[in-house]
Symmetry: C2
Subunit: 278 residues, 2 copies
């Protein structure tokens, strides 16, 4: 079909965010730029095959991009993963935008996670968190260092206070466990006529909070030194691998085939498994 041809010729890149509103796109660009500037000497060039960097279904109604940059050997960054998915569904347009940062076994510091799930022009689900990499019950000092001393809950409260938001609980119990106790996990719903308001909420509220959380992550996690014992490193690798495998299964292996068909999904997921060590 011609729409399929168009989409194939176009092949928008990760950083174009062609389906996001201006404040939403600006936020994503600022975050990516902040990461690239801060970690410039640590990140290797993107290395995914072109048909995984950009992919679509047969009809072109679903499009996706994945952008991965690994950290070099001096870095504590394992890899940075950005992605967006756009899908024209019978119920409306679905846009999922993510930016996640994974650290390697040189540190047990938290990851960075940002995910927008937008299934209507005036409402969205936002997950914004520094997910922990140790059992917080057994490691209260870790809780103090990364979640109390950083005042992360104040950032969460800023977004909770907005009248259009309410708490959002992911349907997967495993994903609930993977989120930290200060995770922003909210649904923002500005009502059928709220397209101006949702832009305002993203620009004036979500954007500053996401940027502050990324700053905390960069300063305290991606750069902070941590002394780990041999046994802690073994436990960390085991835990990271398990979380990666489970979240890959829950997020991608269940969602991608529905939007892109099984063949495209397999093609995309396979190279990711290497990064996720899943």
């Amino acid at each position: 079909s011609s729409s399929s041809m168009d989409a194939q010729t176009k092949r928008p890149g990760f950083l174009e965010f062609p389906y996001l509103s201006t404040p939403h796109r600006n936020l994503m660009l600022e975050l990516v730029s902040k990461i690239e500037t801060s970690l410039v000497s640590q990140l290797l060039p993107p290395s995914l095959p072109p048909d995984v960097q950009y992919f679509q279904n047969e009809s072109g109604s679903s499009q996706g991009t994945i952008h991965i940059q690994s950290g070099n050997e001096d870095s504590m960054v394992d890899f940075i993963l950005g992605s967006w998915i756009h899908s024209k569904l019978p119920t409306g347009e679905l846009n999922i935008t993510t930016l996640t940062a994974y650290l390697n076994k040189k540190t047990d510091a938290p990851r960075f996670l940002l995910e927008f799930i937008q299934s209507s022009p005036t409402s969205l689900i936002l997950l914004l968190d520094l997910p922990h990499r140790k059992d917080l019950i057994l490691n209260p000092n870790y809780l103090t260092t990364f979640y109390m001393d950083t005042q992360l809950d104040h950032l969460r409260q800023q977004l909770e206070k907005i009248p259009e938001t309410r708490p959002y609980l992911p349907s997967s119990l495993y994903i609930r466990c993977a989120l930290s106790p200060t995770a922003v996990s909210i649904r923002i719903d500005c009502g059928p006529t709220g397209s101006g308001r949702i832009d305002e909420v993203i620009r004036d509220h979500v954007s500053p909070v996401a940027k502050q959380m990324l700053d905390i992550w960069l300063y305290k996690c991606a750069y902070g030194k941590r002394e780990l014992m041999e046994e802690e490193i073994i436990d960390l690798e085991k835990r990271d691998a398990l979380v990666n495998k489970k979240t890959l299964d829950i997020d991608l292996a269940s969602g991608l085939p529905r939007l892109f068909g099984q063949d495209v999904a397999n093609r995309v997921i396979e190279p990711l498994e290497k990064y996720f060590k899943a």
Copy 2:
């Protein structure tokens, strides 16, 4: 003062719940009765000193009861703890009612936790959960057994649907971590004229859910057999002791002195430390 004398002569027991509404008192009595009936051959008589079973501050404006029964050597129950606190504060009356069940190292199955915090006649905070005793990220089978297979999230959803409820996040990040991903953690607010409605919510909604959750706990946790390896038992003891110490510190050591003065608080907390191995 005469009110102090009255309170001293009265010394209501744990099971009297003299300051609760009828549906609230009925619920507590049904739950305690259910536990006692189900575990009748396993529970030892209460053993706390009388001045810990009942305590009050100097003026008599704050009263409290604690009821503890340990499990015998055949039981997987470590101890059952019930308590209520009533306090006349300048801002109004505060009533805290709890019922918790702790298992011993023969099983790693979850605990039972019920806590009502009522600071106005028409609103309350409810925590109702089977708190996990293992890191759920590292033990997805545990998550499946106790939280997915039991459909606990359906019970949570029943209460979430009530229009007068909204999610409640405990201020302590550690307590947030101690709650399971299916925990009921809500504030029920029926507005200044809602005293009839809050009775209805407790009788028709909270009560059936709490009873079903206790049934699941009794059947699946207090009676279910679990095969544990030596190393798992060591980890379990370490984790239980840490959770106990932290929750004792957060819940009682910080709250009791404010309501009862430091002397009474010390008298009450000291014998509890033995049970909590804190």
